[in-house]
Symmetry: C2
Subunit: 385 residues, 2 copies
């Protein structure tokens, strides 16, 4: 099995891109990644997207993009597992390279959400939950996460204010990322006084939607041998796992079994444990998801992730810096694109190209992308050579 490396990254700022079509957005990210890699062609393209069929009336994005970027003819497809689609695009690219079938691929995360009305978007996002067991009751995606957070607070004795550090850290980091949707730090007071969305989730617990496109160019690792240190970024661990779609059907609704499983497999692939991870891009769609992800991946004991956050260990200078470029909360969450943004940001950190958001001595970075409320989880571990 051939190991894979990332030699090019590109991203569009997460924003309301009313002036760009879906394919123009993808093009911006792809052209940046190609230029970064010094390549002009690839052999395959995998698109992570969740909502284009529903919100943009467009399926078959692969063919659309390959034509637009001047590569008409090459193999292309969309891969989807709700908000985990981007991570799966990267994972499928890794698989294509590992198989020997392709020597260079693009993984593109793409989502255009702000042209639709809020109610359309909310309904479309709810398809990530179980239509038969959750959607049918009118449960939106926010309220589902609110139920999980409420239960977590009850079981482990945390107050809402104990989750403040997740949001404050994300916005502080996003303020240092020119591609972030929100680039202003927030105060503890702003967190506490934010408008309630679905109790206990307030506006500052929830990540914003947005339009976004990100791309990574993946090749066999043997091609980057001999290059200088920091430019040699290899994918050491890549894994994906599933859990039940409906939250009520899990053995423990407060434990992300798929996050644990995919992280374990990624650690095995990389031959490391959580202690050797220098920073971790968590899927902070909601504060509670950051907590559950940190616990499932072994960075905190069960029920104790808020303690890690309160102790400052998730900040850039802490033991496990998370959401180093703002995360979903501040960089923004263009759902199907998010998993690719995470990998782009990991590469920025490992190359020491993260600017003001740079983590010191970042050699090993991990990213975890979550579909739905934890039903599909993809974990990647990357390393600077």
């Amino acid at each position: 099995m051939r190991k894979a490396a990332v030699i090019g990254i590109g991203q569009l700022p997460v924003d309301e891109h009313w002036d760009l079509t879906l394919v123009e957005m993808a093009g911006e990210a792809v052209f940046a990644a190609l230029e970064d890699a010094g390549r002009d062609r690839v052999e395959g393209l995998f698109v992570g997207n969740m909502l284009a069929g529903q919100l943009d009336k467009q399926t078959q994005l692969g063919a659309m993009i390959t034509d637009w970027i001047g590569m008409r003819g090459i193999e292309a497809m969309t891969v989807e597992a709700a908000c985990g689609s981007g991570g799966l695009a990267v994972r499928t690219g890794v698989m294509a390279v590992a198989s020997g079938m392709m020597d260079s691929v693009l993984a593109v995360g793409l989502e255009k959400m702000t042209d639709a009305s809020t109610s359309e978007t909310t309904a479309a996002l709810a398809t990530a939950a179980s239509a038969n067991w959750e959607g049918v009751h009118g449960v939106t995606f926010v309220s589902l996460n609110a139920l999980i957070m409420r239960r977590y607070m009850h079981k482990y004795g945390w107050k809402h204010e104990d989750f403040a550090p997740f949001s404050i850290n994300a916005h502080a980091n996003g303020a240092r990322n020119p591609h972030a949707r929100f680039q202003r730090p927030i105060s503890r007071d702003a967190y506490l006084k934010a408008r309630m969305i679905s109790s206990p989730i307030n506006l500052m617990d929830a990540s914003p939607i947005g339009d976004g496109a990100a791309a990574v160019l993946i090749v066999p690792a043997e091609e980057v041998k001999g290059e200088r240190d920091r430019s040699q970024i290899t994918i050491e661990g890549s894994a994906s796992a599933t859990d039940s779609l409906a939250v009520h059907d899990r053995y423990d609704p407060l434990w992300l079994a798929a996050a644990e499983k995919s992280a374990r497999q990624a650690y095995q692939g990389a031959g490391i444990g959580p202690g050797e991870v220098d920073f971790f891009e968590v899927h902070d769609a909601f504060s509670i998801m950051s907590a559950l992800s940190l616990e499932a991946c072994g960075f905190a004991e069960r029920g104790q992730a808020p303690r890690l956050a309160l102790d400052g260990e998730i900040r850039p200078e802490g033991r496990v810096p998370i959401t180093t470029m703002g995360g979903l909360k501040a960089r923004g969450h263009p759902v199907g694109a998010t998993g690719v943004y995470q990998i782009v940001e990991v590469v920025q950190q490992l190359r020491e190209q993260a600017g003001e958001a740079q983590i010191e001595n970042a050699r090993v970075g991990m990213a975890q992308n979550i579909g739905g409320s934890g039903a599909t989880v993809i974990t990647h571990i990357l390393k600077a050579g």
Copy 2:
């Protein structure tokens, strides 16, 4: 690169399955494939689906299915390129096995279309075309194919009646397939007098939608070595290619460049040419697509596929039997599932399990699955050992 083999197949008859949910349909096909293969687990699952997000308000089908079939936790994702989704599910399964990352996978084609209204379904299917260049003008998928057929008839001098053999052959073959949506042969008269849908496409030129689920279980070919002849079905060629999404933007709107490219690559993989293919499951969404596919794959000269059909060469006893189990026209076209049905049927023929529809001396079978009006095309060549 490891070669792949198919050791299990399962399918639900294409029908209006109002009594089954999406996941129950998938389960029927998967359980049949597992029983057929004598296995009870796989390591990964790839779902080919186009419309569940739009029509069934459900994304993230992979996690939903793995849980239902008792394999909660294993890797799963949806792959999509409109009506080519099923073929891509098989192709991704082949890639997963080739990479060495997985030793057994299920490719599942799944589509539930008849619970929605006709107008909803028509609008959803139109997302396979270019939203910006075609859909915006109100072009439905049928009318797009009608434009192509009209131009073909004009350029090559064929009359509408010359396409009759495609439909007659499909329905004659479907009558011998208990899983087909339509199981009655049709006469030439019925073809000529059928209701006009979008001139020159009449009801008998167009394939019917339907609810369907099909599954194939794929393992490394080395695992089936030593078994008896007809049960050893290997995937000798697997390829996918793209063309421009919008028809007007092609170099020649009457030439399926992606079909030609993916067929050429599949032939190369299998080390054969069209002359060695014993039967060919074409993507006969419309009569015109059968013609274009046959030409792109080298079975007829440009503009001459209707001649092949009129000479009877596409019938079971002909030189290139096509749609041997009824094709999209008679077996039915549950869009994202179709590509997997094709592979299931190829395996039935190669194993000599096709019953009354059996092609004599079927050793090499080919299937071509088309997304949109030819923007994504997937070709597979399978062989009985």
